[in-house]
Amino acid sequence: MLGNYVTFPELLLWIPFVMGLIVLLLKSAKAVKVVSLISVWLTLGVAVVSLVYALPAKEADYWNYNNVSYYWLRYIGSSFTLGLDGISHVFTLLTSLVFALVFMVTSGSSYEKPNAFYAMLLFWQSAITGVFVAFDVLVFYFFWIIVLVLTFFLMGRWGDSWKTGFAFKFFIYQFTGALLFLAAVLILYPYTVPVQADSAHSFTISAFFISPFLAGVQVRAFLLMAIPFFVMIPIFPFHTWFPGSSARSPYPVAMILGSVMVIMGLYGMIRLAIPLFSIAFEKFQDVIFILCVVSIVYSGFIALIQDDLKRLVAWASVTHVGIATLGVCSGNAVALAAGMFETINHGIIIAGLWMVMFIIEALTGKRSISSLGGIAKKSPGLAVFFFFVLFAVVGLPLTGSFYAKWHILEGLAGVSTVALVGLILGYLLTLLLMINIARKVFFGTVSEAVAMAGSMSVMQVIALVLVILAILILGIYPDAVTGLFKASVDNIIKRTGG
C-alpha cells in the first residue's frame, strides 16, 4: 500500500498540514490542544517508522517509499520532488521530536485564539519538514519562504509586545537573505544540465550536483547562497535578529526557532552550499572559521551577562550552534560528521534548555535570574533534569554532545588553529555560563517567587524524561544517528576533495 499511493516524505509533510486545517476549524481550546497533540505524535510515529526503511535490510524498498516526484512547472525544469535520504531522515526525525516535546511541555499554557495559533504551529511544522525533504531547489525555496512568513505571523501576532517591530525585522532580514539565495539559484540555473525532456535546464538538486560550475560562478553563487544560511544559523555578523526575536516570541515559537528552525541554515550548508561549491568553499573557509569563532566567543560572553533567561538561552544557543557550524564547515570528514551530529544534539539540547526555562517561568512567573534562586530545593525533579541538560550542553561523557564536541576538536586539530582556539574558548564559556545558571537559579537562597511555585504537570515530566532519554541514546549509541548520514558525509567529502 505504502509507496504505491503515498510515501513517507509526503506523510510527514501533509499530516501536520491537514491536521492544522482541522485545528483551524475547531472552536474549543481543549479540542485544539488534543488534536494538535495527536498530530505531532502521529508525525513523530511516521518519522520513526520511516527509519525502518532506512535499514540496509530494507534497501530494496527504500527508494520506493522515500522518494516521490510530481510534475510541476515542468517547462522550466522544476518538479515537486520530495525525498528522504540519510540527512533528511535525521532532520525530519528531529523536527517531529522537538515539535512533540514542545507541544507537550506547553500544553498547559493558553494563548489568544488557540485554534489559529496551533494551526499556524502545525503549518509551520509542515513547512519546516518541507525544507528538509525538498529535493528540488525551487521547492526548497518555497518551503523556506513559507517558514519565514509563518514565523512572521507567529512572532508578531502572539509575541510579547505588539508595538515593537521585531517580527518585522526578522522577516525583512530573512527575506532579503532568501532572495539572495534565489538570485544564486538563478545565476546557476543556465549552467545546469537537463534531466527531463521538457526543459533545457533543471532545478532538481540532483541536476545541480551533476552540473559543472566554473570557479567564477561558484564564488558568486556561494557568496550569495551562504548569506541566507548564515543569517538563519545565525552567525556573526548576521545574528542580530535572533536574540530579540527569541526573547519576544511566545515560548513554543522561541523553542522551535532556537532548536529546529536555525538548523535549516546548517541543513542548507550541508545539502547545497558546501557540496555544490567545493572550489569557492575552500577559498572562503578561513573567513567562515573566523566568523564562527567570533560568533562563538562574542555570544558566549554576552550570554554571561544576561539577566533575562529567554535572552540568555538565545545567546547560549548562538554559541552552541556556532560550534556545530565550525564542525560542518571544517571540510574534514571526521569534523563534518561530528558537526552534523552536533547539529542534531543542538536541536535536542537547546529544546531541553528552553523547556527548563519555560517551566521555570510557568511555575514562578519570573524569568530574570535576579529574582530566582533555590529551585533545586523547591523542585528537585526539575533540577535533576536541568543537570542532565547542563551535562549535555557542556559535553560530558555519556551525552551525545561529548562525542560530537570531541570529534569536532579532533577533526579541526590539523586544519585551523584559530578554529581550535575558538572552539575551546566556546566550551569554556558554555561551561561557565551553565555553572552560573546552576549556582544562581537552582542553588542559593530560595527567592520569594520560587517559594510560591507550584509543581510540574505530568505532560511536562514525560517530555523531560523523553529529552533525557534522547540525550542518553545519542550519547551511548551515537552510531544509531551517525550511521544514517555516513554515506551522505562521504559524498560531500568526495566532492570537496577533503
Partner: protein, 462 residues
C-alpha cells in the same frame, strides 16, 4: 477587432443613453452587461471567430498575444465594475458618462494591443489615456483630484508630443517611407541618427506612459489625488495596455537593434525599481505608496523586455495578471477604509478577518511570496534574464528590490494583524457579502495561478 468595435459602440451607447437613465442605478448593470459582452467578444475572437473584420490597410493586426492581454484588462475592468461600480456611479453628476469613458479607454487598450503601424500605436495610447484625464478629475469637489487631472493632462500631453515626434523622425528617417512596425524592423532599414533619435524619444514617451522612472513624477500625485476607483483602473488596466504597447513596439520594430536601446532600458528599469521601492517606504498615504509600488513594479516588468525570451514572455503574462488582480484587490479594500493612511488598516484582522486574509494574499502576491501568482511572475521574469547570462548583477538587484518592497507591503500586514483598531468600529464602512466574496475569488485566482501557472501562460502559444 471585436473588442475595439464592441467597446467603442458600447461607450457611445452609454453616453447617449445616459440621458435616459440618469440618476438611476441601472447604469452599473448596463455597464457590467457591456463588460461581459466585451469579454465574451474578445474570447470569441481569441478562439478564432471574429465578428467584425476590416482590412484598413492592415493598420491593425490582431494577434493572440494582444488578445490575451485584452482578456486580462477586460476581466480586470469587470472586477472593478463589480467591486466598485457604485463608486464610479457616484464620482460626480454624470454616472453614465464615467462608464462610457472607461469603455473608450478600453477601446484604446484594444487598439494599443493590436496596432500594426506607429500611427495606430499613437491613436491607441491617446484613446486609452485621454478619457482618464476626465476621470481623474471627475470629483470636482476635491481640489487634489483637479490638480492631479491637470498635472496628468499637461505632462501627458507633453509626452504624447514626444512620442509623436519620435514617430515622425522614424517615418522620415527610414528610406521605405513606411510606418508599419514590421516593415521598419527586419533589418531592411539602415539605422541612422534620425531613427535612433526617434527611438529614444519613443522610449522616453512609452516609459512615461507606464510610469517608469525617471518619467514617473506624475504618478504619485495622480494616484493619490483621484478617487480610489480611478487609481485602481489606472494601475491595473491602463498600465497593462501601455506596457503591452511598449513591449510590442520594442520587440518588433526595434527588436533588431536591441544592443542600442538595451542600456537605456536597463537604466530605466533599475531606476524605477530603486526609486519606486525606496520612496514607497516613506509614504504616509497608502494610495501614494501604491503609486510608488506601481513604479517599482513597472520597472520589474521591463526586465521581461530586456530578456526577450519565451520564459520572459510567460513571466510578463503572469506578472501582469497577478499584478493587475493584486492592485484591483488592494484599491477595492482601500476604497472601503475610513482613511488612506496605515491607520485605516489597523486592526482589520480583528474587525473583518475575511477581508484581512484576502488583503494579505494580495500583498503576498505583490511582494512575490511563493504559492501566489506574483512570485511565479517575478521568477519567470528573472529566469528569462538568467537564461541570457551576464545579467547576474541585475538579478541580484531585482531580488534586493523585492526584499525592499516587502518592507512596505508587510507594514500593511503588520498593521492589520498586530495592531489594535484605531478607528471606532462604527467608523468602518460595511463591506457587503458580495464584495467580500469577490475579493475571495480574486485571492483564490492568485493562489490558483501560483500553483498552476500554465492555465494563464499556455495561451500565449495559442
Amino acid at each position: 477587432m471585436n473588442a475595439i468595435i464592441i467597446s467603442g459602440v458600447w461607450g457611445v451607447a452609454m453616453m447617449l443613453g445616459g440621458v435616459l437613465f440618469r440618476r438611476s442605478h441601472t447604469t452599473v448593470f448596463i455597464a457590467i452587461a457591456g463588460m461581459i459582452l466585451l469579454l465574451a467578444g474578445n474570447l470569441m475572437e481569441f478562439f478564432s471567430t471574429p465578428l467584425f473584420s476590416f482590412d484598413g490597410f492592415e493598420m491593425l493586426k490582431v494577434s493572440s498575444f494582444g488578445l490575451h492581454f485584452n482578456t486580462i484588462a477586460f476581466f480586470g475592468t469587470l472586477l472593478i465594475f463589480l467591486l466598485n461600480g457604485k463608486d464610479i456611479e457616484t464620482l460626480g453628476n454624470h454616472s453614465a458618462e464615467y462608464f462610457s469613458l472607461i469603455f473608450f479607454s478600453l477601446c484604446g487598450v484594444s487598439v494599443a494591443t493590436s496596432y500594426n503601424t506607429l500611427l495606430t500605436l499613437f491613436l491607441g495610447i491617446e484613446l486609452m489615456v485621454v478619457p482618464l484625464y476626465f476621470l481623474v478629475g471627475s470629483d470636482n469637489r476635491n481640489l487634489k483630484g483637479i490638480e492631479a487631472s491637470l498635472k496628468m493632462f499637461l505632462t501627458g500631453a507633453f509626452f504624447s508630443a514626444i512620442i509623436l515626434m519620435g514617430i515622425a523622425l522614424i517615418y522620415g528617417g527610414n528610406s521605405l517611407g513606411s510606418m508599419y512596425i514590421t516593415f521598419i524592423s527586419l533589418g531592411k532599414v539602415d539605422v541612422n541618427p534620425m531613427i535612433m533619435t526617434g527611438m529614444v524619444l519613443l522610449l522616453a514617451g512609452m516609459a512615461f506612459k507606464v510610469s517608469a522612472a525617471p518619467f514617473h513624477f506624475w504618478a504619485p500625485d495622480v494616484y493619490d489625488g483621484t478617487p480610489t476607483v480611478v487609481s485602481s483602473f489606472l494601475s491595473a488596466v491602463v498600465q497593462v495596455g501601455a506596457f503591452i504597447a511598449f513591449y510590442k513596439l520594442f520587440s518588433t520594430t526595434f527588436g533588431q537593434i536591441k544592443p542600442q536601446w538595451q542600456t537605456l532600458l536597463v537604466t530605466v528599469a533599475v531606476l524605477s525599481m530603486v526609486i519606486g521601492n525606496v520612496t514607497a517606504i516613506f509614504q504616509q498615504s497608502i494610495k501614494r505608496m501604491l503609486a510608488y509600488a506601481v513604479i517599482a513594479q513597472s520597472g520589474f516588468l521591463l526586465l521581461g523586455l530586456i530578456s526577450f525570451s519565451d520564459v520572459g514572455r510567460e513571466g510578463v503574462v503572469l506578472f501582469i495578471g497577478s499584478y493587475a488582480l493584486g492592485m484591483i484587490g488592494m484599491f477595492a479594500v482601500i476604497s472601503r477604509l475610513p482613511d488612506y493612511t496605515i491607520d485605516g488598516f489597523s486592526g482589520l484582522g480583528k474587525l473583518n478577518p475575511g477581508v484581512a486574509l484576502f488583503t494579505t494574499i494580495f500583498l503576498l502576491s505583490l511582494t512575490g511570496i511563493p504559492l501566489t501568482a506574483g512570485f511565479l511572475g517575478k521568477l519567470y521574469l528573472l529566469l528569462g534574464l538568467a537564461a541570457g547570462q551576464g545579467w547576474g548583477w541585475l538579478i541580484i538587484l531585482a531580488s534586493i528590490s523585492m526584499a525592499v518592497s516587502a518592507v512596505y507591503y508587510f507594514r500593511i500586514i503588520r498593521a492589520m494583524y498586530f495592531r489594535e483598531p484605531v478607528h471606532p468600529v462604527e467608523g468602518v464602512p460595511e463591506m457587503r457579502v458580495s464584495f467580500r466574496w469577490l475579493l475571495g475569488i480574486i485571492a483564490a485566482i492568485l493562489i490558483l495561478l501560483g500553483l498552476v501557472p500554465d492555465i494563464l501562460t499556455s495561451w500565449i502559444y495559442y
